[in-house]
Symmetry: D2
Subunit: 438 residues, 4 copies
């Protein structure tokens, strides 16, 4: 309540002044996005920057799709780099490479919309609005590629502001405010959370959940990871999600299974937090539960079936005919519950998955995005799990198979360097063997 | 405690890996600033960025002056703009002004040390270390002007990170942790706080204190303002600081006097918070105490005596002889307690101060920095107060005179625009009259 | 986590000592409730009171029904008043009424189980365990009336500990931890909360919810009230609960409707918080929303149908035949959706309800418990609402009728005294008129 | 602020009602303590109990000494046990020992002022006011022994309310609000804290401080203990307090020295928290610093010199002449800095102290109150330290000697039982030896 009153007064300070001015000028004050933005970038912004920013933020949320696009076109066309100024700075610098000329060049190459974005951030809720703007632009970029410069500027700012040093890791549990918990239900991207009962199971004593937050978005997780405390390396996800399954005393667990990692903010697309989060959580859990000896994911292989379906002819060590047959069997309904079919497809599928993960690459990096992520973090491809995820999604993405990526604390950096320098997919011998023979 | 354990594990993850690698490479790991910084900027930084950043932060505080300078020279010389890359980008862009070429130019013009600074910020305490680095560089810049580019890059980053939207206003009172309170004693720049009793007086019921904080520096005020709740416009500061003076029931006050504003962080020099803070505090106080009708400062005139001493010959409407006589009288010990002297100097001094504040300018702006600040914020020069500050400092700076700058909520923006557009010093008629005649 | 470790060490301090002692004594330590309680009441309790209390608390939750009863019989029979000591104290006091003899009598009349209960409270969770013990005993008291003395002692302690001065009022909203929110769903006693969506509706911007908490039970509401912010006196509850209904800007509401009040802790039965809570909430809302002009309940009449069904013959101004007819009509399925039936029963029912509330009493107090509560608090019986609650429960309790009890701030105490001294049911003239004629 | 507004409204609800009533009654409302208390105990208290309690609390603080005494006489004389009612209850119970008659007796024996005190506690600040009332009464009890019954009732209530289960242990450090820290300076009873610098030293990294708080007195420590983290058993207190002394890395400490324990609230005199606090702190420190192996006090011997001065003739194994000589030497100024004197008194003094602590008793318990406290808690008298406290106070109380009481976790309860059952002073062999021979 108090904050509302304080805001009203701050606005009225600015409004009073601007009303007076407008009356004096004989002109009416602009309340359009463009008008407000121009005010905010000029001297008026110095005196009443926060009030202007506040108005822009409020207005943003009331715009319809078309008005939003028109706002971005304004940013693109009118608040971009000043060509004449840039040419002049280049020319001066080319003649004389003084620090001053370099400094002028640096300034000239920055589009004014960047300063505008920084000033929009003055307002309470400004950061959230900017993230929302980026969410919008990201969703329309394919359609309007000319907006990519605005996107680049916005992303540049957000990368700087969402620096790891400003993020806070918080444990999420049943004591967390509902306003945050409902975001988990909304944002879970790997294994859908089906309501509050399901969520509650994932926050019980033998589960852990951690998320990164930014101080300017206190109720919005940026990324979260769900962990199951178990004995031995878990090979299937359905038992972990089962509401009826036995609970384990966390002090008796020896393994932490990271079974779901979800990025939450589409407006922060391309800004990576996962690497930091996983290591932070490993450290948090090590302190809390000294008995934990193993840290591993239980991960999807989102690109597998897509790749398999794109194969024409032979794949790995399988003949074209064999491949076709496997694909045909997989198209049968509930094939995985049919023992005969299973017997025929299990070996070839495991072989194909191992091959896909170890050998199928683009630009020297694994095709599979989840694999790229964990291997890049220094994990080891540990095990392929038959029927690890028999949900509809699991079956359609990867024929029900799941993978463990294993985080061995003392090998993380070694693995990472092998991956980066030698383009090596670090994998256990069993996975390597699977890839070699059917 | 917990956080210490977690940090140790995070470090040991990174260390374990790097030890192994180093052994494998047959080379020993670098623990020098330069070596760590190079690691942090390369692929090693991707895997163990936080641990490297942590080590750099720790090391920074252990460096002596010479080593710090040497570190900045490394940043200046080895982590500056890549000349060849920049030339190429300019050349490409000059030929073909595509968005891609502009983007390449933008990247080429940014020195790698900026990315390095962003990565140092990964560490807990990273922001504090960067602010401390800037504090060091600011203090040596006059001596080593060649470091100004590093300073510029660091300031650029800090301006972006200390955006108003990330700051939090907090009321400071006797319930505030001691670790913050002792900073007030340390940082007060206008009217020195002489220990805890003095501080306590300034935090009593008829006083208010507000400060801005940044989430990454939770115990460090960035700027704070001290306010006295009084009846009528206060004309002297000693009664406000007097430990024995009567306390006023805050509900009976009609005026809030901002009697001291102090910037706290030398590392944030040139990044302005005062404008925002004053307006925020006006709004906070208006909500808390609806009976407050007036908001005004009681401010020093830090440049007055310096200016007066620089005058040779006549000043304002005073003859050279008169000026000389005034200066001579002011050089007498305790002149202000001598009625005869006071009678002779009061009128000429008030005239001179009014003249100094209204007419003495550089680049069309008032000479006096405090005046520039408040007029730029939209305040009005309201009143000149004879013997408003008889402390040693007050007498030597401005012959004991103080000024009220009045914040009239509905005129703030009008005043600001008059100041910016018409270079006008908005002043009350009485001050204007003082400047016109002796 | 930390607290768990600390607890383990505290226990191990006590355990170590007790193990040693037991070994020394050649006897094995008691882990039965009775044995632990005896230890706790003797010198052993002085040294390791907290550990013993902790063990008792843990053990309590593991007891089955029979063991619990046996524990209470132990309290009843072995930790009751010491008859010999009391007789002696009475005899001494009767002879000589000195302060010392009075003091001895005071002590003798207190059963040792009271001190035992105070010591059980040493343990973390001790208060919760004692409230749980009372919950158990309250549920079995009818069956085992001989335990009423234990109940009385327990209640005596809880009354003292749950003194208003120790309670904290907290607003419940969507930022409240889920662990508290799920308790609302569980405890709502008037209009059932059907899951999280329903709960969320009740915590939106045009709703308020407040509860009392005790510091020793931080996650357990003791009582909570649900409030709807509306325009005009609400006459029906279904629109207030409707998920689809329009939301009102709370600044435009003029009336706060208290539509549900639920006591949460059966273990605190007979300890009254409602009176305090309602007034506190009226004050909180008045500060937050100065536009609120009216505070009223929308309340059930839980005893009405029970009373009506007990009537044989005439009731109020209705003949026996008329009464019988009304009862018959009300037994038809969905009578309230049948216009013809409604036309026949509306007038007589409103008359009967008004009569029931105004005139049907026991011991000079209204029969209806909700009526007793609000009238005792100083409210006025304001209006009877036809079909105010058409839920199954509302229809079966009170034929769908609801009542507004109006809290007029300036009449609360006058009404209360009229109720207490003159046994008067303060009611609006319209309700009085309804009671007088059909 | 908000809370102030809410309180005003709560008061005005009650006031409005009472004004109306008073006008109706033609009598004016009482604002005397007695009048308010009577109102609070009758039906008026039911409706506006909180407002009445609030008024009583406010009034209490404005009373002068004489008015306070008069208030307590009112409590003593007019709100004591109802003699007639008690006689009747005794008589009924003597005739027929039914549970009902026992219950009536229990009620009759409780003075109405107890209920009054419980109701005063309804008000915000009520608990603090009751503790303040007790502080007053405790300070005047010797003078007015007739008030001891009121004191007993008040203490009875406070014992129940300040039950260990309601207390919260908090670590006090430099992050603690100043409002609490200044209380430490005020309340330190063993080694005076000489201002904020001294306090700060005691809260540095190699020191710990813990206190108990009650939720109703959030800024008031009830008892606090100061701990130094050191290597080996500390033998003198001045080095621990020395501002210049080297700081120790807490991870390198093996011993926690409890060098000061202070009760803070005179109003809670006779209610013991120390036993709980010490064990809690031992557990907290064990978790935080696993390297700690020893927990010991460094304690004063407050009664030693008093006892020695009371000795006429021989003491322990010393002849009367020897004793007289020691006393004479100790009366010399700065005797402890005179090597010759020290040589003569050291052995006899250590012998006398050992004897005093081991053998001088009253009612089978050690004469020395600090010794009684720690031995009762299960500590062992470990070592006598020559010139452990050379402050003026230390020299006058105990000739500069200090004692270590050692808390051996596994022997605490064994020691306690030996002390309680066998009246045994558990002491190290070296202290026993000292007591035996000179």
């Amino acid at each position: 309540m108090r904050q509302t009153f304080v805001s009203q007064i701050l606005n009225s300070i600015a409004d009073a002044g601007r009303d007076l001015l407008d009356r004096g000028n004989g002109k009416s004050r602009s309340h359009s996005m463009e008008g407000l933005c121009r005010d905010l970038l000029t001297q008026r912004g110095e005196a009443s920057g926060m009030a202007l920013a506040r108005e822009i933020v409020g207005l943003w949320y009331s715009l319809n799709e078309e008005e939003r696009l028109s706002f971005f076109r304004f940013l693109q066309n009118e608040e971009g780099v000043n060509q004449a100024k840039l040419d002049k700075a280049i020319s001066a610098y080319s003649k004389d490479k003084t620090p001053e000329n370099l400094q002028n060049l640096t300034q000239a190459v920055e589009a004014p919309r960047q300063e505008l974005m920084r000033r929009i951030n003055f307002a309470p809720g400004g950061t959230a609005a900017l993230v929302d703007m980026r969410k919008f632009i990201v969703s329309r970029l394919r359609e309007f590629p000319d907006l990519s410069e605005v996107d680049r500027d916005l992303k540049h700012l957000l990368v700087s502001w969402f620096n790891r040093g400003f993020l806070e890791v918080r444990q999420i549990n049943w004591r967390t405010p509902a306003v945050v918990l409902e975001k988990l239900i909304e944002y879970e991207a790997v294994h859908e959370i089906e309501g509050w009962e399901d969520l509650r199971r994932r926050l019980e004593d033998d589960r852990r959940c951690f998320a990164f937050f930014h101080p300017a978005l206190p109720d919005e997780p940026l990324i979260f990871v769900e962990v199951a405390l178990v004995k031995g390396l878990a090979s299937a996800v359905q038992p972990l999600l089962d509401l009826q399954a036995d609970r384990l005393d966390p002090d008796r667990a020896d393994t932490a299974i990271f079974y779901s990692i979800s990025n939450c903010q589409e407006g922060l697309k391309g800004i990576s937090f996962g690497n930091f989060l996983i290591k932070q959580v490993v450290a948090e859990l090590s302190v809390e539960l000294p008995n934990l000896k193993h840290f591993s994911t239980l991960s999807p292989i989102p690109g597998f079936m897509k790749w398999l379906n794109s194969v024409n002819g032979k794949a790995a060590k399988l003949s074209a005919g064999k491949v076709t047959k496997v694909k045909k069997l997989l198209s049968e309904k509930n094939w995985w519950q049919n023992d005969e079919v299973v017997e025929q497809v299990k070996d070839p599928l495991e072989h194909l998955v191992a091959h896909y993960l170890l050998n199928e690459k683009r630009n020297d990096r694994p095709l599979d995005p989840v694999s790229r992520f964990h291997l890049g973090n220094g994990a080891r491809l540990e095990r392929i799990n038959w029927l690890g995820d028999t949900s509809r999604n699991g079956l359609s993405q990867s024929a029900g198979l799941l993978v463990n990526y294993y985080y061995s604390l003392k090998n993380i950096e070694k693995n990472h360097e092998a991956y980066v320098n030698e383009k090596k997919v670090v994998a256990s011998s069993s996975v390597q063997a699977l890839a070699k023979s059917v």
